[in-house]
């Protein structure tokens, strides 16, 4: 384990992303419920490394009851894995990236050697504009029902006013992301459209035009984490998590500097991101302008390939898009395309909460 231990950097116990799977992201999956969407992905994430549920010691999921419109939907979702014999199990009402963090903490404590993390969310049955307003301050903000596009547009305007970006920059990011997504078989929106053409889009909420918004996506994803002998046995080229942290900013939108991301910068610092160069960054930036804020907060220069998967502008399955960033980064390490990578996940309005995961190969 010496190589892994030296690669472990800021973490005490080396933990690897042993397997990753995701559904093909689509605008609307009417034919499957959440369990039926998860079943093939759970089968794939186990099958790819030749294991079963019996080989993991812990299961953690990420989802939101507000999407399905019923309480405790994560309990029924466990049917996708099988409930007998029972396994220690937990859930977070957050993106699967935070479920992964919980499993990673348990692995750090040394009580377990492997964990399954999965997440799911269907945006299509409900009205995301209204559902996402319910996550806001219940006294001062939610009663006004600001939708996520409007809040993101306030942030984009602040970025333009601060001289940090232009509408042309937003279009360039959207153009590049969806062109990169052409090589991602799971992407929902993939095309080769020049930024100049995108700038002819109408405003949805000014200053954000259609192309600067994420697609609305139904999707699920899963990861198997492994430590110790299992990490070695299940992967010839493990992607080790060498740093992991998440931070949150105040819920008072008007008390934040929306043009920067102090929580991302702090998480990156604590995860040891700047200890060495990274080859790629998988950044969870649902709106095009947010990539600019996050690249600055992560301190990435132009040698880093940003979102080779296409990122959240190519598919934004709510509750899964953050975990998918970690899976995409790990896949590129395991395949040898990258030696060191950073993955990021976000939650809340205008990048309120941010998670940074640093991964390394050997």
């Amino acid at each position: 384990m010496s190589a892994a231990a030296s690669a472990a950097g800021r973490t005490n116990r080396p933990v690897s992303v042993a397997s990753f799977a995701q559904a093909h992201n689509v605008r609307r999956d009417d034919e499957h419920n959440e369990v039926e969407m998860l079943m093939p992905v759970v089968a794939e994430v186990f099958g790819a490394i030749g294991i079963t549920k019996d080989d993991v010691d812990f299961i953690c999921s990420g989802s939101s009851d507000y999407l399905i419109g019923g309480p405790f939907s994560f309990v029924t979702a466990l049917d996708a894995v099988g409930v007998w014999p029972p396994k220690p199990e937990s859930h977070v009402e957050m993106d699967g990236a935070w479920a992964l963090y919980e499993a990673w903490v348990l692995l750090q404590e040394g009580e377990i050697d492997a964990a399954l993390v999965y997440c799911f969310g269907r945006s299509s049955p409900g009205n995301l504009n209204e559902i996402l307003a319910l996550q806001l301050d219940p006294y001062y903000v939610a009663p006004l029902w600001p939708d996520p596009v409007s809040l993101a547009a306030l942030q984009a305007r602040a970025l333009i006013d601060a001289g940090k970006a232009t509408e042309e920059d937003f279009a360039a990011i959207a153009s590049r992301s969806r062109r990169d997504a052409l090589s991602n078989p799971n992407a929902q929106v993939a095309n080769d459209t020049p930024a100049q053409t995108l700038l002819e889009d109408e405003y949805v909420v000014s200053p954000l035009r259609r192309h600067a918004l994420p697609p609305i996506t139904d999707g699920v994803a899963a990861i198997v984490l492994a430590a110790g002998d299992k990490a070695r046995r299940w992967s010839k080229s493990p992607a080790w998590i060498t740093g992991f942290d998440h931070r949150i900013e105040t819920h008072s939108l008007g008390a934040r500097d929306l043009t920067s991301s102090s929580s991302t910068a702090m998480a990156a610092q604590r995860a040891g991101l700047s200890d060495g160069p990274v080859d790629i960054a998988e950044i969870h930036a649902p709106f095009a302008h947010q990539e600019i804020i996050l690249v600055e907060a992560l301190g990435l220069d132009d040698t880093v390939a940003i979102n080779p998967s296409g990122g959240a502008l190519a598919a934004n399955p709510i509750m899964s898009a953050g975990l998918i960033r970690i899976g995409e980064a790990a896949s590129r390490i395991s395949s040898g395309q990258a030696r060191r990578a950073v993955a990021h996940a976000t939650s809340g309005p205008c990048l309120q909460q941010n998670l940074v995961c640093v991964l390394e190969g050997e």
């Binding site: 019923g70 009663p143 600001p146 409007s150």
Partner: protein, 152 residues
Amino acid sequence: MPDSEALHASHRLEYPYSRSVGPVIGAFLTGLRDGRLLGVKGSNGSVIVPPTEYDPTTGDDTGDMVDVGPGGVVESWAWVSHPLPKHPLTTPFAWALVRLDGADTALLHAVDSGGPDELATGDRVTVRFRPAAERIGAMADIEAFVPEGGAA
């Protein structure tokens, strides 16, 4: 099985809780009912609007309530050409972060400015309350902000 034979069950999901808003948020909302805008003193002397029981930067307890506004400055804004059903206005409007006079943080609300060309960051706006008889001690007691001295 034809649709007519399918089993149906109605499902009404609700959380019938009542919440106390406490001494700081409660004071702000009561102020709105009375046509006043209140902030709270933060730990470093700054004035936080809308007020919270703790300083969002330091986490320390906040202090006395102070009057702010009724005018303020637009810190950022976003133009909504097609208001959604639950939005505060039914005609095109701007969401804006408004830093009220005397405050160090900004309040989110709607600005009724007429059109996107009649609004810019840095513009001065002032509050437009609902008529006193309609106010209930909630954010909707503010109908919108309007350009200071403007016709909208």
